[in-house]
């Protein structure tokens, strides 16, 4: 009973409605995030439609192995995040904590992979500006989008990992109970970061493979 009293906040009559409220708030935020990433993807689509050949040539040089490994890492982290949420809902504290830890570890593995990939890209001077190795010049636009899109995505993921770690500590120290609405918001945000990558992957890694 004390646990439930700690989990339930004003003005909610029960936990189900509280979770719905948090979920709805997070979806409102994500709708604005959809437009933020949507504007970037729209700009990419416009430039690609006018420079198809340049984007094909530029796309051949992105690191498909790192990109694919990162896709599997993020998809798997979405699975563990879902299990964490479901375990929290039925008050299975140990499983919630374990899955949160695995999710954060998978997110960190993604960032490490991304760092190694960036190192390879920089070694090949694939950064728009002087000494850019590819022609035609429009190939630089693809790589401009690559750095901006993957950079902003990595920032979002870093924020997600930070939130997951903070929530893990709060649950672990029993500052907040696992079955409250916290996990709802965390999980929806995490899945959104995954969903952005699902769109970025074909745009940045699969162009010009055939």
């Amino acid at each position: 009973m004390t646990d439930l009293a700690g989990a339930l906040r004003e003005p909610w009559p029960d936990l189900r409605m509280q979770r719905e409220g948090v979920g709805l708030g997070m979806w409102f935020f994500l709708a604005s995030e959809v437009l933020f990433f949507g504007a970037l993807i729209c700009a990419y689509a416009v430039y690609r439609s006018f420079n198809a050949e340049a984007f094909r040539i530029a796309g051949e040089h992105s690191e498909i192995v790192y990109g694919s490994a990162n896709t599997v890492l993020l998809l798997t982290s979405s699975l563990t995040m879902t299990i964490a949420l479901r375990a929290a809902t039925v008050r299975w504290r140990a499983l919630t904590l374990a899955c949160l830890a695995i999710t954060a570890a998978l997110g960190i593995a993604f960032l490490v992979c991304k760092g190694l990939e960036y190192r390879e890209d920089l070694r090949e001077h694939l950064f728009p500006g002087p000494n850019f190795p590819l022609s035609p010049p429009a190939a630089q636009m693809f790589w401009g989008f690559y750095w901006i899109m993957t950079g902003i995505h990595a920032l979002h993921l870093t924020a997600g990992i930070g939130v997951v770690l903070v929530v893990f500590v709060l649950f672990e120290r029993r500052v907040i109970p696992v079955q409250g609405a916290t996990m709802e918001g965390v999980a929806i945000y995490w899945h959104f970061v995954d969903s952005v990558w699902i769109v970025l992957f074909p745009l940045l890694y699969l162009a010009g493979r055939s």
Binding site: L24, R86, D194, S210
Partner: protein, 97 residues
């Protein structure tokens, strides 16, 4: 104990099936990118990405069981993006240069 095992299995079963479906779709997308499909390649890759997003939002983000108002907000994000793409391309694709 067997009750605990059952609830554990229930907890994992649905999300694991969605995760497997996502991995299969990802493999299909990756494999098809190497086929000589020309302009069809990007269309196929984006179509697969759209199916992946549908699986992720329906089963892992659990829009399937969400309140109607939540689904409306999620759909609003999609709707505004469609409007943005439509207006942008209506401009660029109808220019005479």
């Amino acid at each position: 104990m067997s009750d605990g095992d059952n609830s554990g299995r229930r907890l994992w079963l649905g999300p694991s099936a969605a995760w497997l479906a996502l991995l299969v779709l990802f493999a299909a997308s990756l494999g098809s990118a190497y086929l000589p499909l020309g302009a069809g390649s990007v269309a196929l890759n984006l179509a697969i990405a759209a199916v992946m997003l549908a699986v992720l939002t329906t089963f892992l983000m659990d829009l399937r069981n969400s309140a109607v108002i939540t689904r409306i907000v999620a759909a609003a994000g999609l709707l505004w993006m469609i409007i943005m793409f439509s207006l942008t391309f209506a401009d660029y694709l109808s220019r005479s240069y």
